[in-house]
Amino acid sequence: MARTEADAGTAGPPGGGPDAGSARPRGGQDRSEHPDLAGLEAGLDALETRAPVRASLGGVLLNKVLPPVVAVVLVVGAWQIAAAADVKPDYMLPGPLDVWDSLADLWYEGTLFEVIWHSVSRGALGFAASLAIGTPLGLLVARVRAVRAAIGPVLSGLQSLPSVAWVPAAIIWFGLNDSTIYAVVLLGAVPSIANGLIAGVDQVPPLFLRAGRTLGATGLRGIRYVLLPAALPGYLAGLKQGWAFSWRSLMAAELIASSPDLGIGLGQLLENARTNSDMSGVLAAIWLILIVGIGIELLVFAPLERRVLRSRGLLAGTS
């Protein structure tokens, strides 16, 4: 930096150098003296750029919202018909209406939101912790060759271990409290998040890093201004998957234990329904777990990802 500024000082008038400050035409020429070139460039620019087309609201409703709604309606309809036709006895295959009743019970008992809130808040906290651990870990693995060779395979390997397998070990190590649950969630989500960041960093075109270095973004500034923003899309994809894993692991962990301190979450709801041999309760819990899990993915992560991708012109259909 200093060198450049110093040189700018010696090379021309103060504050100069070929920067905007001194780049005013010498000899009084003006840009407008080249109307020919200007017109040509304006024409080229006009021909080659076009405003991105945004899908209309009607189109979105028709193409994005309608099909899943139709699909759900079809599935629920077929299910109701099967249940009504008594393909299997009620207590084995409850119909959608029975499941609805179970949900309604929760609603009227006023526990529905509490249960969901317990799980979601835990999931969010566990996810935040995973983020705090997975991000530096991923950066370290991505950038330090030896670390990568050493623990890279372990990170993906961890994903082939079911969360429930960790439960006994976690209880022993962390005791019967939220730490156990968070430990299980971390073991599920950290590898996903780290792997996402690693993939994101790997996909950063080396050109960006070189461009950054010529601009003076080296060391930490290189990471802050170039590497991390460039790796963002892959990182977000990892976050999305990391959330799915957090949620999944959380549910597995919640099946183990309930205590007044822990509060009842969706996992315990499922387990309790199972203990009661209450199939419609089981199905209601499965639905809730699915809906909340997908819902958070769709409401939080998908828009975030879409926004980042769109702002970079990486979303099909916008450029």
């Binding site: 006895p89 084995m92 439960v167 183990i256 234990a257 205590s259 007044p260 203990t275 041999s277 209450d278």
Partner: protein, 343 residues
């Protein structure tokens, strides 16, 4: 070398008697748990006492880790009969509106205790604010604990376990570890978990037998799917005869039975129980044929009182005719269904 300590298979259940005619079906699928309270099937199958009664009908064994899975398997038609605890039996029966199962015999009584950490809980008036575990919301021990606590003036919210005493529902397998870690002040658990807690420094504060008239209450009974009972009463009767004879054998040869039991457990779970645990657990459990129907009804009432069960109609849950037939043949006293029998 590899396999040098392999089991040479002498503990295998006796195969089907050669040339014996099968009963009305070729195969009967029996479920049970690898647990001291399931001594009847473990010993009976290990010694071939049940197979003997079945002639050419083969036994397919299915080992469960917990009651709900057994009920699910019974509902799905994957097993025909199972030894199981009373509370899953009640839940299964009630949920199916009395359509899926019947209890046809008993197997064990007793074998559940409140074990506490003696440093933290000195006596029964010392439970305020303590953390007491049970294996599962609404199961036999959970109901017993809730009933006991409310009887002693402690108020507890049955669903969440919050209240004057904190009731923690935790898998039986994890309770000993949590207890050792100091996460729990006590636990109301069945054998052999109770024995394990004692062996790691716990003290039995209460033996559940003390709470029941005659010191007996149902811990394990034998259920059968209704359709199987209708179609193959001869098979059910044969199993019952095997069960009755097994129980008689166990009570006559307790030491031999204990050894057989432990080797069956070792085979099933990869490791036999330590002797001190086995001794203590086995001493707590009584093996009998009577399903103690009255205590099941009381347990259901306690569950309803605790708000864990809706007012339930249990009539028809028992069908003890076959058992009584067998008992009469054996010259033993018949048993009573406490008014909850079929018809």
């Amino acid at each position: 070398g590899y396999g040098s300590r392999a089991d040479d298979g002498d503990g295998e259940p006796a195969p089907v008697a050669a040339g014996a005619e099968p009963l009305s079906t070729d195969q009967v699928r029996l479920g049970y748990f690898a647990n001291v309270t399931h001594a009847t099937p473990l010993v009976g199958l290990e010694k071939g006492l049940i197979a003997k009664e079945l002639g050419g009908t083969r036994i397919k064994r299915q080992v469960f880790n917990a009651g709900p899975a057994a009920i699910e398997a019974l509902n799905a038609g994957s097993i025909d009969m199972s030894w199981i605890g009373p509370s899953p039996s009640i839940n299964g029966y009630v949920r199916s509106h009395g359509e899926n199962l019947r209890i046809v015999a008993g197997a064990t009584s007793g074998g559940a205790s409140l074990v506490v950490n003696p440093d933290r809980v000195r006596d029964r008036n010392d439970l305020e604010g303590k953390r007491i575990a049970t294996p599962q919301l609404g199961n036999t021990q959970d109901v017993a604990l809730l009933n006991y606590l409310s009887g002693h003036g402690y108020r507890v919210d049955a669903q969440t376990g919050a209240g004057d005493v904190k009731v923690i529902r935790q898998d039986n397998k994890e309770i000993p570890n949590s207890f050792r870690r100091g996460d729990l002040d006590g636990a109301w658990v069945p054998e052999p978990t109770a024995a394990k807690l004692v062996s790691s420094g716990g003290k039995v504060l209460l033996d559940e037998r003390e709470l029941w008239p005659g010191g007996r209450f149902v811990t394990t009974n034998l259920i059968v799917s209704q359709s199987f009972l209708e179609e193959h009463p001869d098979v059910v009767e044969a199993v019952l005869r095997g069960s009755v004879r097994t129980n008689a054998w166990i009570n006559q040869h307790p030491d031999q039975a204990k050894a057989t039991l432990n080797s069956a457990l070792g085979e099933q779970t990869g490791k036999p129980l330590p002797d001190e645990v086995l001794d203590q657990a086995f001493a707590q459990v009584e093996i009998l044929d009577d399903p103690l129907a009255g205590t099941l009804r009381d347990q259901a009432e306690h569950a309803v009182e605790a708000g864990l069960l809706d007012e339930a109609d249990l009539s028809g849950i028992y069908d003890l005719t076959l058992l009584n037939t067998v008992l009469r043949e054996e010259g033993r006293a018949t048993v009573d269904d406490a008014g909850l029998g079929v018809g």
